[in-house]
């Protein structure tokens, strides 16, 4: 049994693919169901710090890719092989849904709210999926590629008439 | 003469107070390598406040601001200014000590009625700080009263002008030194500027005062500056024969206050209280004990 992290990962999880991205970072691609177990495994093996959760809209393949970036606290109890680990998973674009990672990493709560608000990915079991930044409602979440900002700006902000006195010409 | 004095002294105090405010802004600017506003800038600010139409939160809001300014004006009527000593037979220093709590009370009423937590926090800090510097201040004032065995400030000033000024005589030098230690707190200058901390509580009790209310608050602030300094000059520096010399002495005290103001960051209210109740109170207490022992 090889001692490298990638080896151990593949030994445990059958449906993941690992790859090195430079010597300091390991990329792991997992299926939506196996994301949580992998996160737990990585956390136990020393990568206790979830840096961020982000999302990529692969509109041509009709998929949404949720990316978790983990790293280890320097000088932690377990000697870690990599500086950071990038865990990716793909979900279908029209019904994007994923289990929430709050139980493993509570810090994921605002990131998941942001992704829900801006990309429309639903996180199962998230306590508060309420808007985080945006003031107004949007039919298409604004960070999706099919959201046409210019057309939106035209019909929302363009329609605001200038403040003109009746007597003054426009 | 007395009626004349009722009109002149508030105006004189106001003019001197505004000059002090202008001076302090320019003094601070020069320390920060800036040119700073002209001397009459506070006058321009007050004129601008008067012409602005602000909001009122109710009758007590107006009454509080007016009461606060009236409190300061009344104290000015009781304070000797140079050679002129008003209202001789009316209770002297004790009444001044009492009148000095009228102005914070008025501002507290206005601030409370403004229904804004910033002003309420500012008021609770103002009273806590007032309690802080009153402990040494009362010890000092009592030492001076016991030393000259009179509660009329005019007699104290006359006695000091006859002999040495207060701070030069032996037992009172301790009280004088303690007074200098708490002078920034009495004037509300930087290390103890916890009450109108613009960054923390958006200028405390003044958070909701705009327009003419702010004008009255600024005038009261100018008068408070005048009262704080003239009380020190009268009690510790023997007043002066004519108003001009009195004004010069006040300038020296103001300069001392402003240098301290420029050099220190703002303390937290606990730190201010801990400071005020440690060394200044000890020195003032020893001063009072000495005065009582030697005086006997």
């Amino acid at each position: 049994m090889s001692a490298t992290l990638a080896g151990r990962l593949e030994a445990v999880f059958k449906d993941i693919r690992t790859g090195a991205d430079g010597d300091a970072r390991l990329t792991v691609a997992a299926t939506p169901e196996s994301v949580l177990p992998v996160l737990v495994f990585l956390k136990d093996s020393g990568y206790g710090y979830l840096q961020l959760v982000s999302c990529v809209d692969w509109i041509e393949r009709g998929e949404m890719e949720v990316v978790y970036v983990l790293s280890a606290y320097p000088g932690g109890p377990v000697e870690t092989e990599f500086e950071s680990i990038v865990l990716k998973t793909r979900v279908p674009r029209d019904t994007p849904s994923l289990d929430t990672a709050i139980d493993v990493f509570p810090v994921a709560e605002p990131y998941e709210r942001e992704i829900h608000e801006l990309f429309g990915v639903h996180f199962e079991g998230h306590p508060r999926l309420v808007p985080l930044f945006l003031e107004r409602e949007y039919e298409i979440p604004p960070f999706r590629k099919d959201f046409d900002t210019r057309e939106y700006v035209e019909d929302v902000f363009g329609a605001v008439p200038p403040v003109v006195e009746e007597s003054q010409e426009p | 003469m007395k009626i004349l004095w009722f009109v002149i002294s508030p105006l004189a105090a106001l003019v001197v107070g505004i000059i002090f405010l202008g001076l302090s802004r320019r003094f601070m600017a020069r320390i920060q390598w800036r040119y700073g506003p002209p001397l009459y800038q506070p006058l321009i600010d007050i004129m601008r406040y008067f012409t602005q139409k602000s909001v009122s939160h109710g009758a007590i809001f107006d009454l509080g601001v007016v009461l606060s300014l009236a409190g300061s004006l009344v104290v000015v009527l009781f304070l000797p200014f140079g050679g002129i000593c008003p209202l001789r037979g009316s209770g002297g220093l004790l009444v001044i000590l009492y009148m000095m709590l009228l102005a914070p009370l008025g501002m507290a009423l206005a601030g409370g009625e403004a229904a804004n937590p910033n002003s309420s926090i500012g008021i609770s800090r103002k009273f806590a700080l007032a309690l802080g510097y009153e402990v040494p201040l009362l010890l000092i004032v009592l030492a001076v009263m016991t030393r000259y065995d009179s509660i009329s400030i005019c007699e104290i000033v006359a006695a000091q002008r006859a002999g040495l000024p207060g701070i030069a005589t032996f037992p009172l030098v301790l009280s004088g030194f303690a007074y200098l230690l708490i002078m920034p707190a009495v004037l509300g200058l930087r290390p103890f500027e916890v009450v109108q901390a613009p960054q923390e509580i958006s200028s405390g009790p003044l958070a909701e005062l705009g327009g003419r209310y702010l004008a009255l608050a600024q005038i009261q602030h100018a008068l408070a500056m005048f009262i704080g300094i003239s009380l020190f000059v009268n009690l510790m520096w023997g007043g002066a024969s004519n108003p001009f010399v009195f004004f010069l002495k006040m300038l020296v005290v103001l300069a001392f206050g402003l240098t301290v103001n420029a050099a220190f960051p703002r303390l937290r209210i606990e730190q201010a209280l801990r400071y005020l109740w440690r060394w200044p109170t000890l020195i003032a207490f020893v001063g009072l004990v000495l005065v009582v022992v030697i005086g006997r």
Binding site: - | I44, D45, T51, P198
Partner: protein, 185 residues
């Protein structure tokens, strides 16, 4: 800079006092606020002209709306502008409040600020330098001199339109309309 002409002080003290005591609300609405500290400290010293930052809108008569105006910040800007005592002046600082600037096509920023608030003066530039602020202040002086800095009057007169635009973008506002319809100037 006619501050030392006593005649003008005697003729129109109110106008002169407004010109030479411009206290700006220290409210950092956008990226432009980084230019204000150098203006008010030793390097440029705005206090020479009587310009000071204040903590609350109640003390102020100048409102520098610095940098892009996001939809969420517009709510606070309107609230702060309404809480300033009249007469008050507002200056759009930087290109974003003018026409949206580099965020012209962003879903989250306000494009034309003067459709929601009356603006008395503009300072062009993507974060204009402190000297530009002083130029703006001098222009504001001339505007006040000629009684053209009447943003607060326009706000009072056309409040219905301003309020409608505000509600169009922000939805329902938490405070009642400031003026009843058609207030006198």
């Amino acid at each position: 800079m006619d501050r030392n002409q006593l005649v003008k002080w005697l003729e129109a003290p109110a106008k002169m006092s407004h010109k030479y005591s411009l206290h700006a609300v220290y409210f950092c609405t956008g990226c432009g606020i980084i230019e204000v500290p150098p203006v008010i400290t030793a390097r440029w010293d705005a206090e020479r002209f009587g310009v000071l930052p204040t903590a609350t809108p109640r003390h102020a008569n100048l409102f520098l709306i610095t940098g892009y105006v996001s939809v969420k910040t517009l709510r606070a800007i309107i609230r702060t502008y309404e809480q300033m005592p009249e007469p008050k002046y507002s200056v759009g600082f930087g290109s974003c409040p003018i026409n949206g600037g580099m965020y012209w096509d962003s879903y989250n920023t306000i494009k034309h600020l003067d459709r929601y608030l009356p603006i008395d003066g503009w300072i062009a530039g993507c974060m204009p330098r402190p000297e530009a602020i002083f130029v703006a202040v001098t222009h504001l002086w001339t505007l006040i001199e000629k009684d053209m800095a009447d943003g607060y009057k326009r706000y009072r007169r056309d409040y219905a339109q301003y309020r409608a635009n505000q509600e169009r973008v922000l939805g329902e506002l938490e405070w009642p309309p400031l003026f009843a319809a058609g207030e006198d100037v």
